[in-house]
Symmetry: C2
Subunit: 250 residues, 2 copies
């Protein structure tokens, strides 16, 4: 598995917002066979991919799971009988400990496992993905090596090799706080747009970038990441302390 630096075809399970982004960037390089319960097999997809059956998608030598964490165990059980030896299975979720455990538990020992988290989305990838970051977690075997090589060489991504736990600890702050603040700001709408400062404009730009993320992404970031709740608690305690100090200045 570690001797081939690329793959011959990609099976993509799930065609939501992120599945479409994956297809758009991988189909120019390799045949991309997509399975999603909402798609009729044989349909040509706008991103240059083709809709196919579950078993055909699972028969590719790189299989990508692009669904909500809550649906991942069922998907793993469904594809397991169709996976060939030396296949590499990778997920693309915003949390890594949970999917790693699910893939280990439900996928056969003869396939390699890799956790990936592209640190960009449909909004931030608008002007292309070259130079963008992706976190890669080795889960089983050396499957991360050809995946990382492919992502670097073909897509120009900046690959960060890490562990599921280290990933989730950082993501709890990076994404957990950003989405929390963004969701709170959206609920305060309409926000001022005329008398603004540069720093407020940047804050709103950050919030707008993640406001259209689907509920599954928010669930992964805030609920499935075991380190997100403590980070939110620390942020809340700091805000409350600052508020008390501002309300009663010396």
């Amino acid at each position: 598995m570690s001797c081939h630096l690329t793959f011959s075809s990609i099976g993509l399970l799930g065609f939501g917002a992120f599945g479409r982004l994956v297809a758009a960037h991988l189909a120019p390089h390799l045949p991309c066979l997509v399975h999603d319960p909402a798609l009729v097999p044989g349909t040509a997809l706008p991103q240059g991919a083709t809709a196919t059956s579950l078993s055909e998608a699972a028969g590719c030598d790189l299989v990508i799971l692009a669904m909500a964490v809550a649906d991942m165990a069922a998907a793993c059980r469904a594809i397991a009988p169709h996976l060939r030896p030396a296949t590499v299975v990778a997920d693309v979720g915003s949390v890594k400990l949970g999917p790693a455990a699910i893939m280990r538990a439900h996928l056969p020992a003869h396939v390699g496992l890799v956790g990936t988290h592209p640190l960009f989305g449909p909004q931030s990838a608008r002007d292309g993905i070259a130079g963008r970051k992706i976190a890669i977690c080795p889960i089983r075997g050396k499957a991360h090596l050809p995946v990382a090589a492919f992502l670097r060489a073909r897509l120009g991504l900046r690959v960060i090799i890490t562990t599921p736990e280290a990933h989730d600890r950082e993501a709890a702050t990076v994404q957990g706080l950003t989405h929390l603040i963004a969701q709170a700001l959206h609920r305060m709408a309409p926000l001022p747009s005329r008398m603004t400062t540069t720093s407020f404009d940047l804050l709103i730009q950050a919030a707008d970038m993640v406001r259209h993320d689907p509920p599954g992404v928010l669930a992964a970031i805030e609920s499935a990441n075991p380190f997100a709740a403590p980070v939110r608690a620390e942020f809340q305690a700091l805000i409350a302390g600052l508020d008390r100090a501002y309300a009663a200045p010396d």
Copy 2:
């Protein structure tokens, strides 16, 4: 007072971070006489201004108050006997209701009063101030007209005419929330810097931009603005509600 579109000299009271910024941008256009208790009169200042006595600074036809709100009443009482008829006095604070009341109470009826709030600071003005925004509040007389004309024509600023109350309501969100979030984030340092997303990078950029604002600016924004506490309370309640929902997803 409304017939002259410009001024012959500027008296600047206060030479902190913001006073220095004011001097740097006004001294190229007009003689800028600075009084600050920390400066020896006669000293040539780096920004092309000159240190002078309180009475000489107050004798200019445009007098700018660039000190913390807490020091403004004492400064007004000190300059009042030296102000000539038709002089325009303007403050540059981040809150407008308080300074408007202080200037009305402590400055003689024969001077015009204007509240100003440049919506930029030493950080955001690094690459120049042309095109940046400034809020202008008429307080007494038509003094805001020549001030606005000067700021538009000489400095290229975008002038937003408003009232102290409307200003403070908007600033409570624009600056109150930005500084609150920034202060909380700074207290969570060290923050992740490697595995970051574009939206998190923007959030950090926003926070870094205001992190060096002096305590007086923070006090004006969070404590002197009467609308800041309710905005902070709304933000806290939203964050707490989101946290509860994320902790116990369906």
